[in-house]
């Protein structure tokens, strides 16, 4: 009985020791999210939303945009999700297209990375794909001001590919 007890204690101890990937305990709070009550392209602080959340890669033939919209998720999980994501993609490309890039084609992936580690870095294995869009910059509208600017028909014209996950 005593031996069994010792074995159990050792086993429990070894389980604690055996954790492979320790993660520091301090957690970073996500940035405060602004809920846009009355949605409109001009009402959204796009630059702040894209800052530290977007990665842009010039692939030569096209430019790839990647935006982690996790902190602003609440603004997209609404009825007109598709339109808002389209607006976000257009703003992303408009504001962050690299100065020295040449490609007309752009590809945009919008994702939610559900967790961050203690350093504030996204935990990639918690990534959830939200939307994938492809379009030509030359075909993109210069600005989207009215709701009617991005009707279903207009979106079909602008985006060569628009997948919602």
């Amino acid at each position: 009985m005593k031996k069994l007890f010792c074995f159990m204690v050792l086993l429990a101890g070894s389980q604690i020791w055996a954790r492979e990937t320790p993660v520091p305990a301090v957690t970073t709070l996500p940035a405060p999210v602004t809920v846009i009550e009355k949605w409109g392209v001009e009402a959204v602080p796009w630059d702040a939303w894209f800052k530290n959340n977007a990665l842009i890669t010039d692939k030569g033939e096209y430019v790839h945009f990647f935006w982690n919209a996790q902190d602003f998720k609440v603004n997209f999980e609404v009825k007109d999700k598709k339109t808002r994501l389209a607006e976000a993609a257009l703003e992303l490309v408009k504001r962050l297209y690299p100065v020295d890039a040449k490609a007309d084609q752009v590809k945009v992936d919008i994702v939610y990375v559900l967790e961050r580690d203690s350093y504030g870095l996204p935990k990639w294995d918690s990534l959830q794909q939200v939307a994938h869009l492809e379009f030509l910059r030359s075909k993109a509208p210069k600005s989207v001001k009215k709701k009617t600017d991005l009707t279903a028909a207009a979106m079909k014209k602008v985006f060569d590919k628009f997948e919602l996950y």
Binding site: L10, G13, S14, I16, W17, A18, R19, E20, T21, P22, V23, P24, A25, V26, T27, T28, L29, L55, T57, K59, H64, F66, K107, D109, V111, D117, S118, Y119, G120, L121, K123, W124, D125, L127, Q129
Partner: protein, 692 residues
């Protein structure tokens, strides 16, 4: 019959001690001075006069300081001893007497026979001479350091003499002094007359460069930085730049400031209170001010008070009760503490404390910026969690860079702080393995009289969610080796195994994953990421052997690390895959240009966090090190033997070492580093208490 009663034993023991004391009354311990953050340079702290080792030498009111150009001699104006002392920085800070008999008086001639009357300020001059403000005699004296002869440079004239000939001048009092290389002149202040003088050492002429100025009525501290002269009033606030003026006033009687016309101009550069000294290096200027909460103010480049903390992270400046640094304690208005920059260690300064009879040093390592603030990790300019060490390595310094996961820098120590409500204090940089190792190595070197100083840089990996230390090391290490002139890189390998990077970025031409996340690549299913080649073959093999499992199309992980590392078929390709970044790093390191020509060594250190761990992993890492011909430090046995006793692991939620666990960790590492001769460490002692 009892031969030894308990009391008799005590008596015998005491007798032996007494005999030892009688036999070796002066057998001083051989210790080497420490160079950490705030250190003792010389002085026992007891007022008196005694030459000798840095910790037993005695001063009486040490004031002005000056350092030879090469930094090997630190000169001290030992005010109340009426002597000029010298600290031999290359000989364990041994203290000697340079000039002065000790009797207050005025006598030129051979240094040992010369007399001074309260020397207070010093300036080292490029022709290996030393200028001395001889406060009691109201003279500027000159010591030729080659011939050891003392002469008089300025003062001693008749009242009413004009400027021009320095030996005809009469001063009413003298305060600060600095040598200014651009015009090869000595600038010194005469507060009671409101004058700053310039003594041209080429032409041996004297002129007033400031007089009767309304902003600086009683000029005291004078300093030089980046081709400009700075000064401060003895009582009024502010540090000023001396403006160059072309208008030369006519002859002016000495000691009659009230009647003197205004000469020169100044411009305010910063607000500082009761400035006692100014010192600079390169483009950095610092003021020693009479402010117990901010005794040292960095004026240039960014105007910020220096933070002083103990190596344990405790604030050493008010309002922490009773913890004011001995460097500055009791210094008051009118005192003349010395303040000088160390020419061979940028950011290091010497200060004297006349009250405490000591000469100390401190380093501006911008410690405050290095703490964790609000849960965010602060990194230095090289993006590592460490101090702003100067790129130029101080002479005699051996630099080690530790690269590893959070085990080497994160400590579980909330239990030490939570009762005091100081949880925010719990992550201190001084608790990291790097700093523990640095402190322990320097302590060992000091106590064993080894002539080396160690700096250990914390290259802790801040990609919290990946395990690939070798890959991280490959990308960050070469730049760090170059920037900090690193001598040894230690890859701190724990039990973790990771392959995540292979799914985040395409392989480079070297066959290792790229450094930056390629989101588009990452978003592909893993199966599509490797069409052919070594990596695909390896993953196929692991799947076939059920050593790899896909929990989703983008998340693959090993099922059983022990089985993985010991599988004979997988062993070799796994070594190739895991070892490749290190083998490439080793090759890359040979072409890294460092400030010193000394080579940088790469070694692998394996430490199991879990002392119950199997031996299979250590064998794997040993085989990997052998494959890459890397020195291998295996701490497994040490941890297994000592781990139960010390229990370094917190057992808490975040599963890291405790603060005390880090101490065990560093002790074990030092033992292995010295045993394997991976670091230079040679004690000069042959017997206890004696130096070779």
């Amino acid at each position: 019959m009892k031969l030894f009663s308990k009391s008799r034993k005590t008596l015998c023991f005491l007798s032996v001690e007494m005999v030892l004391v009688c036999l070796f009354p002066l057998a001083a311990k051989a210790l080497s001075p420490m160079v950490q953050f705030q250190d003792l340079v010389a002085g026992s702290g007891e007022a008196g006069f005694e030459d000798g080792s840095f910790y037993s030498a005695r001063f009486n009111g040490p004031a002005g300081l000056a350092v030879s150009d090469d930094g090997s001699f630190l000169y001290v104006a030992d005010q109340q001893n009426n002597r000029i002392r010298v600290v031999r920085m290359d000989d364990k800070n041994k203290v000697e007497t340079l000039a002065g008999t000790g009797e207050a008086g005025m006598k030129d001639g051979p240094a040992t026979q010369a007399a001074f009357n309260q020397p207070t300020a010093l300036a080292y001059l490029p022709d290996d001479t030393l200028a001395v403000i001889d406060r009691g005699n109201l003279l500027i004296r000159l010591i030729d350091l080659k011939t050891k002869m003392v002469s008089t440079l300025a003062g001693g004239g008749q009242a009413g003499s004009a400027e021009g000939s320095p030996l005809k001048a009469v001063f009413t009092n003298l305060w600060g002094m600095t040598y200014f290389p651009p015009d090869q002149s000595l600038y010194f202040s005469e507060p009671s007359a409101g004058i700053v003088w310039r003594l041209d050492l080429k032409t041996k002429t004297l002129e007033k460069v400031l007089q009767a100025n309304s902003q600086v009525t009683r000029p005291g501290a004078v300093g030089e930085c980046d081709g400009k002269i700075y000064l401060a009033d003895l009582t009024l606030p502010g540090v000023y730049e001396l403006q160059k003026t072309t208008a030369k006033p006519g002859p002016t009687p000495f000691a009659t400031p009230a009647l003197a016309p205004t000469t020169g101009a100044v411009s305010l550069v910063c607000q500082a209170q009761n400035v006692l000294g100014l010192a600079g290096w390169s483009k950095n200027l610092y003021a020693y001010q009479l402010d117990p909460q901010a005794p040292i103010l960095r004026i240039f480049p960014d105007s910020a008070p220096l933070t002083f903390k103990s190596v344990w992270g405790i604030s050493l400046i008010n309002p922490n009760p009773g913890a004011i640094l001995p460097h500055f304690k009791n210094v008051n208005v009118g005192d003349r503490p010395g303040f000088a920059a160390d020419p061979r260690s940028p950011g290091r300064f010497f200060v004297s404390n006349p009250y405490r009879g000591v000469v100390c040093s401190f380093r501006d390592l911008r410690q405050a910026e290095m703490d964790q603030e609000g849960g965010e990790t602060i990194v230095n300019s090289a993006k590592i969690h460490d101090f702003e060490y100067p790129s130029v390595k101080p002479k005699g310094t051996y630099r080690i860079l530790l690269v590893g996961r959070s085990y080497i820098f994160w400590t579980d120590n909330d239990h030490l702080f939570e009762k005091k409500g100081l949880e925010g204090e719990s992550q201190q940089f001084m608790h990291t393995l790097a700093k523990r190792l640095e402190i322990s190595l320097n302590t060992k070197a000091a106590l064993e009289d080894a002539p080396l100083h160690y700096e250990v840089l914390n290259g802790g990996m801040h990609h919290g969610s990946t395990n690939e230390i070798n890959l991280f090391a490959y990308y960050i290490t070469p730049d760090l080796i170059k920037k900090y002139d690193v001598d040894l890189v230690l890859i701190m390998q724990d039990e973790g195994f990771g392959i995540e990077s292979y799914f985040r970025a395409p392989l480079t031409s070297d066959g290792i994953p790229g450094d930056n996340l390629d989101p588009e690549f990452y978003l592909k299913p893993n199966m599509e990421k490797f069409r052919s080649g070594f990596v695909k073959d390896f993953f196929d093999l692991c799947f076939r052997k059920k050593l790899l499992v896909a929990s989703s199309e983008k998340v693959w992980s090993f099922t059983d690390i022990d089985a993985l590392v010991s599988d004979p078929e997988v062993h070799k390709p796994l070594i190739e895959m895991m070892g490749k970044p290190l083998f490439l790093l080793k090759r890359k390191m040979t072409s890294v240009k460092k400030a010193s020509d000394s080579p940088c060594q790469l070694a692998l250190c394996y430490f199991p966090v879990n002392p119950f761990t199997s031996r299979k992993k250590r064998i794997f890492w040993k085989d990997l090190a052998d494959e890459g011909k890397l020195p291998f430090l295996d701490l497994s046995d040490d941890f297994a033997a000592l781990g139960y006793s010390y229990y370094p692991y917190s057992g808490g939620e975040s599963a890291h070492f405790t603060v005390n666990g880090m101490t065990l960790f560093s002790d074990v590492m030092i033992h292995e580093l010295v045993k394997q001769k991976l670091i230079p460490f040679e004690s000069t002692k042959d017997e206890v208490g004696a130096s070779k």
